[in-house]
Amino acid sequence: MIGILTIFQKEFKGFVFAPTFWVICFLLSVVFSWVYPIQLDLFAKLLMNYVMQQGVSVNQLNIHYGVFLRQVSYLNLMLIIVIPALTMKLFSEEKKMRTFDLLMTSPVTSFQIVLGKYLAAMGAVLGLILIAFVYPLVTSFLAKIFWGPLFIAFFGVFLLGAVYTAMDLFCSSLTENSLIAYVTSVVLNISIWFVGIGAEVVDSEAGRKFFEHVSLSSHLSSLVEGTIRTNGLIFFGSIIVLFCFLAERVIESSRWR
C-alpha cells in the first residue's frame, strides 16, 4: 500500500510540476472557450425561435442535450488525443532512462507500480474533466440546470477517461519509445469505438447482442443521458482491470524475459 502511495505521489507531482499537463489544460480551455459559447448561443437562438421552427425534436430544446452532451462528446474527442500524451512517458521513459531498474529492484510489486502510476494518471485526467466542468458550472448562473444528469454525464466521460488511461498505460509499458507509445495509444483509443460496429454486420441474434454488449458507445449513451446501469459500470470496470492486468504482466515479464 505504501508502495502504491509513494509511486502515486511521485508521478502525480511529476504531472503537476511538468509543463505537459498545463499545456494540455491550456489547449483544452482554449478549445472549450471557443466552442462552448457558440453552442450556448445556438441553443439560445433555437429556444427563441422554436415556435417558428417546425420539426425540431423535443430533445434539442433541453439544455442537457443541446449543449452539455455536445460538450461531453467534444471532451471525449479531446481525451482520445490528450490522455496518450499524459501516459506515454509513464513506462517508456522509465525504460529508456534506465530508471526502470530502480523500480524493479525496489521492494514493490509490479501490481503496486502499475496501480500507483494508473491512479496518478487518473488524477491528471480528473483535472482535465474538472476544467471542462467549469463551463456548465458557469452556465448555472444563467440557466436552471438539473445537476443529477449533468454529474452522471461527466462521471460517464470520467469512466471513459479511465478506460483510455488503462489502455494507454498498457501501450506505454510495451515500448521504450514515447512516440510509439503515443501513436499506438491513440489508435487503440479510436479503435475501441469500432468494436460495436460488428453489431451491424452479424446476422445471428446472439452475435448482435454480443457486439451490443461490448460496444462502448451503447454503454456510454445511457450514462450521458443520466442513467447509471450496473452492466455499463461492470463493462467499463472490466476493460480497466483487463488493461491494468496486461500492463502488470508486461512489467512482470521483464523479470524473466
Binding site: A18, T99, D101, T105, S106, P107, T109
Partner: protein
C-alpha cells in the same frame, strides 16, 4: 550473506553466465572483475532480483531472490551501470522518493537522506535539478540512492565510470568508509579500483568464474616470479647475451628503445643482485633498476585474455 549456486542465464542461444558458484560473507567487500561482456552485470541483476536466472539459485540473507524477491530487495542497494535518476527531479526530492520506495519509515526518511547526501558530498547540489548536473554528480546521486536506505548489501555496477580522478578517489574512499557496515559487491574492469577497495576478488570471463580468492593470494599466484625494469644511459644491442650467464632469467623484452628493458625472472634477491652486478660490470651506465612483483593486472590478463589467446591459437586464428 550472498550465496550463488549453479547460476545460469541464457539469452536465447547465447549463454551469458554459466554455472556460477560463489559465496560472499557478511561485511565482505568483493570485487567482481572481468572484461566487457563477461557477465558481471547479468549476475548482479540476478542477485538484485531484477532478472530471473535460467537455472540455479541465488539467495541474499537467506532469502531466495526468485522465491521472495521483496525481502531480498528490502536488503539491497543497487547502482546499475547507468545511474537510475530522474532528470526532472531535485536531488533531495529524488533521494526522499527512493528512500520511501525502499520502505524507509516516514519519520526516518529525512535523516537517512541527510546521511547519504553527507556521505556522497552532494550538499552543494541537493536543491538542483538532476538534469542539470554533470555526469560525475549524477553518478554520485546514483551511489547516494543505493545507500539511502542503509541496506545490508550494496551492489555497485562500475561505480566510478565517468568520474574524474579526484572523484574516483573520493568514491573509493567512500566505499572504504562503507566497509564493515555493509556487504559490498563491486563490479569493474578497472583493476586499481579493486586493489584499492576490495578484500576478495571474483574474476569472471565468458560467463564462467576463472578465479576467486583474496587479492593477496591472487597476486602471488605466479609464485616467485618477478620483473625488472631497467634503463641505461647507453644503447644495449643484445641484452640476452649479456645476461646469458644467469639461468633464472625467463624472458627479456625491449622497451620503447634500446635503452629500456624489461626482464622476467624466477628467483629471489640473489638473482637480482647477480643481474645488477652483471650490468654494472659491462659499464652500460645503469640509471634505473626497479624490481616489481607480478601484479593483479598480469593475473587478470592472463586469466581472461590469455585464455582467449590460447583458444584462438588452437583454432588457427592469429591475433
Amino acid at each position: 550473506m550472498i550465496q550463488v549456486k549453479d547460476l545460469t542465464k541464457d539469452f536465447g542461444p547465447r549463454r551469458a553466465i554459466d554455472h556460477l558458484n560463489f559465496t560472499v560473507n557478511k561485511g565482505d567487500v568483493v570485487g567482481f572483475l572481468g572484461p566487457n561482456g563477461a557477465g558481471k552485470s547479468t549476475t548482479m541483476k540476478i542477485i538484485t532480483g531484477f532478472m530471473a536466472p535460467s537455472s540455479g539459485q541465488a539467495s541474499v540473507a537467506g532469502f531466495d531472490v526468485f522465491e521472495s524477491p521483496i525481502e531480498v530487495k528490502k536488503r539491497i542497494g543497487y547502482l546499475p551501470e547507468t545511474p537510475p535518476v530522474y532528470g526532472d527531479m531535485y536531488v533531495r526530492d529524488y533521494l526522499e522518493y527512493v528512500a520511501a520506495l525502499k520502505g524507509v519509515s516516514k519519520d526516518k526518511i529525512k535523516s537517512f537522506v541527510k546521511n547519504s547526501i553527507e556521505k556522497t558530498n552532494l550538499g552543494d547540489v541537493q536543491t538542483r535539478l538532476i538534469h542539470h548536473l554533470s555526469k560525475g554528480f549524477k553518478q554520485r546521486v546514483g551511489i547516494a540512492q543505493a545507500i539511502v536506505s542503509d541496506p545490508e548489501v550494496l551492489i555497485l555496477d562500475e561505480p566510478t565510470v565517468g568520474l574524474d580522478p579526484k572523484q574516483v578517489a573520493e568514491i573509493r574512499d567512500l566505499i572504504k568508509a562503507l566497509k564493515g557496515q555493509h556487504t559490498i559487491i563491486l563490479s569493474t574492469h578497472v583493476l586499481p579500483e579493486v586493489q584499492a577497495t576490495c578484500e576478495k576478488i571474483i574474476i569472471i570471463n565468458n560467463g564462467k568464474i576463472v578465479a576467486q580468492d583474496s587479492i593477496h593470494s591472487l597476486a602471488m599466484m605466479e609464485k616467485g616470479q618477478r620483473r625488472l625494469q631497467i634503463r641505461t644511459r647507453k644503447d644495449v644491442l643484445d641484452m640476452i647475451s649479456i645476461l646469458s650467464s644467469i639461468p633464472q632469467i625467463l624472458s627479456v623484452k625491449e622497451g620503447s628503445n634500446q635503452k629500456e628493458w624489461e626482464i622476467s625472472l624466477q628467483g629471489g634477491d640473489d638473482v637480482i643482485e647477480a643481474i645488477s652486478a652483471c650490468l654494472v660490470a659491462k659499464g652500460l651506465g645503469l640509471l634505473e633498476f626497479t624490481p616489481t612483483k607480478l601484479d593483479l593486472e598480469d593475473v587478470f590478463i592472463k586469466l581472461t585474455y590469455g585464455q582467449a589467446t590460447k583458444e584462438n591459437l588452437k583454432n588457427g586464428v592469429e591475433i
